[in-house]
């Protein structure tokens, strides 16, 4: 089971064991992690599950498609090179230990 570390803006850390095939967004919602709204439920439509992914995991992530790319231009906090929609990151063994920085706000 891959482990995810969600680190919030105020320094709160939530370490969660995640079943494979769930998304980083779904695991956050299932574990009550604050700061990920995910209004659209995972259809890459609302940009309210925006996260910054720790640099050493960036090249292990699934390739960003055009829809996610468009949506990342609509985030409430600044888009950075490490920006992703957490609903589009499906967990694989390769992502064990991934560190997710949750932005200050989503709307």
């Amino acid at each position: 089971m891959p482990k995810i570390s969600y680190q919030s803006h105020d320094g709160t850390v939530a370490d969660v064991n995640a079943p494979e095939n769930m998304s980083v967004m779904q695991v956050a919602k299932a574990n009550g992690v604050d700061g990920i709204v995910a209004e659209c439920g995972g259809s890459a439509m609302c940009a309210t599950c925006h996260v910054y992914v720790a640099e050493d995991f960036l090249d292990r992530l699934p390739v960003m498609n055009a829809v996610e790319d468009e949506m990342l231009d609509c985030t409430a906090t600044e888009r950075k090179p490490s920006s992703r929609l957490s609903c589009q990151i499906k967990l694989t063994p390769d992502l064990d230990g991934i560190v997710i920085h949750v932005p200050e706000r989503q709307t």
Binding site: G41, S43, N65, V67, D73
Partner: protein
Amino acid sequence: MSTAPLQAELTSEPLVSCPVSRLDPFGREFLTDPYPFHGELRDAGPVVWLERYQVWGFARHAEVYAAMQDWQTYSSAAGVGIDDFRKNKAWRPPSLLLEVDPPLHTRTRAVMSKILSPAAMRRLRDEWQTRADTLVEKLIERETFDAVKDLASVFPVWAFPDAIGIGMEGRENLLPFGNMIFNSFGPRNEIFLESIKEAEPVVAWIYGKCARDVLAPGSFGAQVYDALDRGEIQPDEAPVLVRAMLTAGLDTTVIGIGSSIHAFALYPEQWQKLRENPTLIRPSFDELLRWASPVQTFFRTTTRDVQVGATMIPDGSKVLLFLGSANRDPRKWEDPDKFNITRSTTGHVGFGTGIHGCVGQMVARMEAEVVLTSMIKRIKSIEIVGEPVRRLNNTLRSLSSLPVRVTPA
């Protein structure tokens, strides 16, 4: 119409080993009050063979959700209605969003996601709020009005076509057109044929409204043509995408707003909760979509033999997904028949889910948000004063009339 109980029977064909139902999910009795039938289908098993139409059905949340997430196995490209585009010529041109798979889908979806994005909707919020305030104010003066005819059918037909960039004249044509298209996902039953009769005269009007030269500059419609200029879509696709907004975005949002008012009239304590805490407005719309599911069903088509429970569904089979039933499955939801705006609605399929999740959902959310915002400020309570009337549709669950009396705050 058959309402015979399900019979769990094993047929001689090894592949068809699952409960068989003789229910007609597009029959008047089923569409009028689907919930008891949903319960029957869910309890029968994770997969049911719908004998009347020779298709498979999923009515439980787990299977519906999984199928919508797995577009590789459950394809939309053969149509999301009962017709199989690969076997029969389509009655209507396939949708470029709803009825395609990646990579084509990804490209079109990116164009529409950008046009209908949260940022685009934020720019419209103030204007829409002012309009909603004005409309609600006028209705409060009347005290008694029809929440569907005078409010839910008015606001979306006002707001969204303006944003798409079409003129005011003839907008009453939009709702019959959408009603017909959503009927066309079901069989050619009486309900569908009646809606064709009603909508046929307006088809040419709609097509005319999707041409480049009639769309307002800067509008959502004009932005579709901008995407064409950037080479992101093909010339013949642009009018089809403009039409898709007019088709998918009107009837559904009218229903969303009408059903919201219906729900809050039936659950006055939820209305009080909403008035006390306006941050519940947006989440309450998700609960509404779970509870009332404007879009009740869509089909998928299998791209391989797929095992679901004890059943092997063969490659190329039509599968009917009961979204409305998944949203009220007690296996997933506690007290599912209760409208409760403070519950967690994560995982509801009211907008679908996965790559085909409603691309216009930010529009729908914003419309509901501004109307409810206007209402909570000015309305203390909503009382139903006449029998609500349903409009039956093969896909949509909607009201055509909801007489109410409101008490001003």
